[in-house]
C-alpha cells in the first residue's frame, strides 16, 4: 500500500517539475510575429525623413542654409523602430549632409562633433559610416586650409588626418564591397 502511495507521489512530483519548465508542453498558442519585418513604424519614419530632406533641399536652393540645417537636424530626432538598420543608415547620412552644411557655414568644430557622434554611435560598418569618414576628411581639409597661413604645422597635421579619414572610408568601402560580392 505504501509503495503505491509513494509511486503516486513520485508521478505527481515529476509532473510538477516538468510543468515548471518553460516551453515544455505549453498550452499557449504561440503565433510569432516577425520582429524584423518592414512595418508601418519604419515606413512612417522613413517618410518623415524624406520630407525633412526635401524641405532642406528647398531651403538650400533658396540660400537659407540655417533653415536647411535645422531641417536636417530634425531627422536626427526621428523615432525609428528599435534596432532597424535603416534608422542608423538614414541618421548617418543626415549627419554627413549636416556636417557638410556646417562646413559651408564655417562651423568646423560643430561639423566635426556631428561626424564624431555618428561614428561613435554606429553599431556596424556601412557605406554610410564610410561616407562619414569621407566628410570627416573634408572637415580636416577645411581645418588645414584655415590653418595654412597662420599655422603650417597644424595644417600639415590636419592634412594627414584628412588622408587617414579618406583611407578609413576606402577601407570600409572595400570591405563591404568584397562582402557583397561574396554574397552574390
Amino acid at each position: 500500500m505504501k509503495w503505491i502511495i509513494a509511486l503516486v507521489l513520485v508521478l505527481a512530483s515529476c509532473s510538477c517539475t516538468e510543468k515548471s519548465q518553460p516551453g515544455n508542453g505549453s498550452s499557449v498558442t504561440q503565433v510569432t510575429e516577425p520582429s524584423d519585418a518592414i512595418d508601418q513604424k519604419l515606413m512612417i519614419a522613413l517618410s518623415q525623413a524624406k520630407n525633412f530632406h526635401h524641405k532642406a533641399k528647398v531651403y538650400i536652393s533658396d540660400g537659407d542654409t540655417a533653415a536647411a540645417i535645422a531641417s536636417v537636424r530634425e531627422i536626427l530626432s526621428l523615432q525609428f523602430p528599435s534596432g532597424a538598420p535603416e534608422g542608423e543608415d538614414v541618421r548617418n547620412d543626415a549627419r554627413a549632409l549636416l556636417a557638410r552644411l556646417l562646413v559651408g557655414q564655417h562651423q568646423l568644430d560643430e561639423a566635426m562633433n556631428v561626424v564624431k557622434e555618428g561614428l561613435g554611435s554606429a553599431t556596424r560598418e556601412s557605406f554610410f559610416t564610410a561616407n562619414l569618414y569621407t566628410v570627416k576628411g573634408e572637415i580636416h581639409e577645411a581645418y588645414a586650409q584655415a590653418a595654412e597661413a597662420t599655422d603650417p604645422a597644424k595644417a600639415k597635421t590636419e592634412r594627414h588626418a584628412a588622408i587617414e579619414s579618406f583611407e578609413a572610408s576606402n577601407k570600409i568601402d572595400k570591405k563591404l564591397q568584397d562582402q557583397l560580392m561574396e554574397h552574390r
Binding site: S15, E33, A37, L42, D89, D93, Q177
Partner: protein
Amino acid sequence: MPTNPDDMLDGRVPPPDEEATPAERAHAKTFADLVDKTLAGRTPAAMSADDRALLEVATVIRAAAGNAELATAKRTSIVEAALRQGVGAKVPATSSNVVPISRARAKAPWIIAASSMAVAAAALILWLRAPHTAILQQPAAAALPDNYKSRPADPLIGPIGRDHAGDASARLDTIFADRLDGYRELRMRGGKP
C-alpha cells in the same frame, strides 16, 4: 360433474358442515405425512401436481409464520465453527459451510482498490501533463524573404562617392521606394507588418 372423482380439487365441492368421507380423510392423512417429510428435509421425488401446489402453499405459510428453524445439530455446528474462526483456531474440514477468510484474502479488496486508485491517479497525471492543442508557428521572420525585412541599406545604395557625399535626399528616396515595395507586398500576402 366431476371429471375425476379422485381429484379433490377437480371434484364436487361439499357443503361446509358435511362430514368428511373416508377418502377425504385418507387423502388428508397422506398430505399431512407429505408435509411432515418436507419439513424434515425428506421431500419425495415424485408427487401429484395438486399435492405439489398444496405443499408449496404450506411451505410459504410456514415460512411466513417465522417458525422455520435449523435443526439443533446443524445450528450448533455452525455456531461452533464461527467461534473457532473468531479465536483464530483451525476450522475442521468437515465444517464446509463456513468459509474461513485468510489474511491474504482479507487484504485483496484493499489491494485492488489501491491499485485502481494508483492507475486512476497516474492516468489523471498523464492527462494533465499531456500538451494541449498548441499551434506553434515557426518564427515568421525566419521564413520571410529579405525584401520583406528591415535591413541595412548598403546593398541597395552601394559605395558613396565623395562627389555624392551630400546626396542624402536622393539615397533616402531610393531606400524609401525599396522598403515601400516590400511593405506593400508583405501586406498583400497577408502578413501583419
